[in-house]
Amino acid sequence: MSRLAPEGAALSSVAESEFALASRRRRRLTRQRLGHAAAPYALLAPAAVAIGVILGYPMYLLVRMSFEKYGLFELIRHQGKWVGTANYAQIFHDSEFWRVLLRTALFTVVNVTLTMVLGTGIALLLLQVSRWLRIALTTGLVLVWSIPVIVAVDIWRWMVDYEFGVANWSLQHLHVGNFVRHDWFANPWTGFGVITALIVWGAIPFITITIYAALAQVPQELLEAAAIDGARPWRIFREVTMPLLMPIFVILTSLSIIWDFQVFQQIWVMLDGRPTSDYYTMAIYAFHQSFQISEYGLGAAIAVVMVLFMFGATLVYLRQMLRAGEIR
């Protein structure tokens, strides 16, 4: 019911939701009104302080830097030179930036879609398979999850190795085509294919296990009731399961967008720390400008633009989440 409450009107909605409660409860709350009002802030304080102290000041520095000329010279002297919006102007006039942005956006869409579809699929599959296989699969997923990214990249880089890669050997011997000394990274499309496979592979365990845990919370009664009504499995999924899973889906999708949009290690390490410009994504572009070209101001500006862009991309989800996450 409180879903319908207008957003932002904190005070009035507190009153409204309180009003709806049983009278017994209202009495208690009147007595504890003061304590009640302070409680959420007290609960929130430790986390807020931790985030505020450790991230607040660096974020301020980052934003300030984005308006400064901040190269190696300035870095050593701990003093940037104010240049107003020059860094932003430079970025927006750089055709490379727009290419990178487009590439990153496309890359994110493909990765997030694949991750969510496959992750959900495997979670649903877990419900269907025998118990032993379910245990084996979950254990396998956790194994995958437990592999550090830097190691995962090395494993994959090595599986698709040009000289000794197991991928080339297998594809050759399965007669898929001529894969002897196939160079996956010569063509950015196949190169990004490998990177996507690596990222999706690494992301599936988290998505699957979370969705599986959420699926387990779906009341059996609802599913059975729907089944008795003669609904087919796909319809049950769409009309019963999906709506219930929506909040978790929204969270996972926005997180995946945020993570995939910022992908760095996977591309960086896969290409020996020397990706050609065909492989630049936003995070690599920002890193390149900061640490390699030593234009920290430009790098900071790119980071700020990235954050704004991601906010834009997740805005729909954000609104939905804020609404879906209302207190009942």
Binding site: A39, A47, F164, A286, Y296, A303
Partner: protein
């Protein structure tokens, strides 16, 4: 959102009643698919472990050796004998323990506020923790370093712990909030009828119900803190203070990657995560007992 739909805790994994012949065939199909998924997912991990047991010359080979025919422990010996291995283990354990404990505790408290209270600034905070995750780490390193050196926290585990905590917190708060939202108000109210205080109700009723949430977030925090590399590399200078990931990176030199010991080291690093998971797995996947649902 139908208020008052009280659903009692239910057995969790959809049970498979009445197994008919057709169903069994279905099941077989699903199982086959499941095995394929399993093989595809696990193969890279297998390849890592298999490599760890192969002697150096067999690793780079034009014809892959699917099973290490002459398994050797020499890679593991090399890995462990690499300097500062035990220091790295100790540091990683300290970092992970503290980060997991603190992040789960703080996240639970914050999530309670976000999920169960309506207060001024709530949405702002939710947007903030989402936004915090959007800042690319590579761009934050220099600003973070400036802050940390002012606080005299460079080259100290406490500094790294503090940073990990803030990077893990947004996610843990968020996930925990999701789990708390899943618990119907009716259950809390039932507790209050018994005359418990609101806080008492939270602790007695909510805590057990968010068990899976606690476990899921602690696994997340564990893996993040255990596997993080860049922060640990940049902020910890003294070899005795470095974590396992920094230690692992020492296998890659200008002279290429030393695959055998690297894979052995990676295998060793993965073991604690798996053990941790096995310790808590009953809560998350096989024995989810919280049937509390969004009504």
């Amino acid at each position: 959102m139908t208020s008052g739909t009280q659903i009692a805790p239910t057995p969790i994994l959809p049970v498979a009643p009445r197994i008919s012949g057709r169903r069994r065939l279905h099941k077989l199909g699903w199982n086959v698919l499941g095995v394929i998924v399993l093989v595809v997912m696990v193969f890279p991990v297998y390849w890592m472990v298999a490599t760890a047991f192969k002697p150096g010359q067999k690793i780079l080979s034009y014809t892959p050796q699917w099973i290490p025919t002459s398994p050797t422990l020499s890679n593991f010996r090399d890995a462990i004998n690499q300097p500062f291995f035990w220091d790295a283990v100790k540091n990683s354990v300290i970092v992970v323990t503290v980060v997991v404990a603190l992040s789960v505790t703080l996240a639970f408290l914050a999530a309670l506020a976000l999920a169960k209270f309506r207060f001024y600034g709530r949405k702002g905070f939710i947007v903030l923790i989402l936004g915090v995750q959007m800042v690319p780490l590579a761009a934050l390193i220099i600003p973070l370093y400036i802050l940390m050196s002012r606080l005299h926290q460079v080259d100290k585990l406490t500094g790294v712990i503090a940073m990990y905590l803030t990077f893990v917190l947004p996610f843990t708060v968020w996930t925990m909030r999701g789990f708390l939202l899943g618990i119907p108000k009716d259950l809390e109210e039932a507790a209050m009828v018994d005359g418990a205080t609101r806080f008492g109700a939270f602790v007695r009723i909510l805590l057990p119900l968010v068990g899976p949430g606690l476990v899921a977030t602690s696994i997340f925090a564990f893996i993040q803190a255990w596997n993080e590399f860049i922060i640990a590399y940049v902020f910890l200078h003294t070899p005795q203070k470095q974590t396992l990931m920094v230690w692992l990176a020492s296998f890659t030199t200008l002279r290429g990657t030393d695959w055998g010991p690297l894979m052995a080291g990676a295998t060793l690093c993965a073991i604690p995560v798996v053990v941790f998971f096995l310790l808590v797995q009953r809560r998350i996947a096989f024995g989810l007992t919280s049937g509390a649902v969004r009504g």
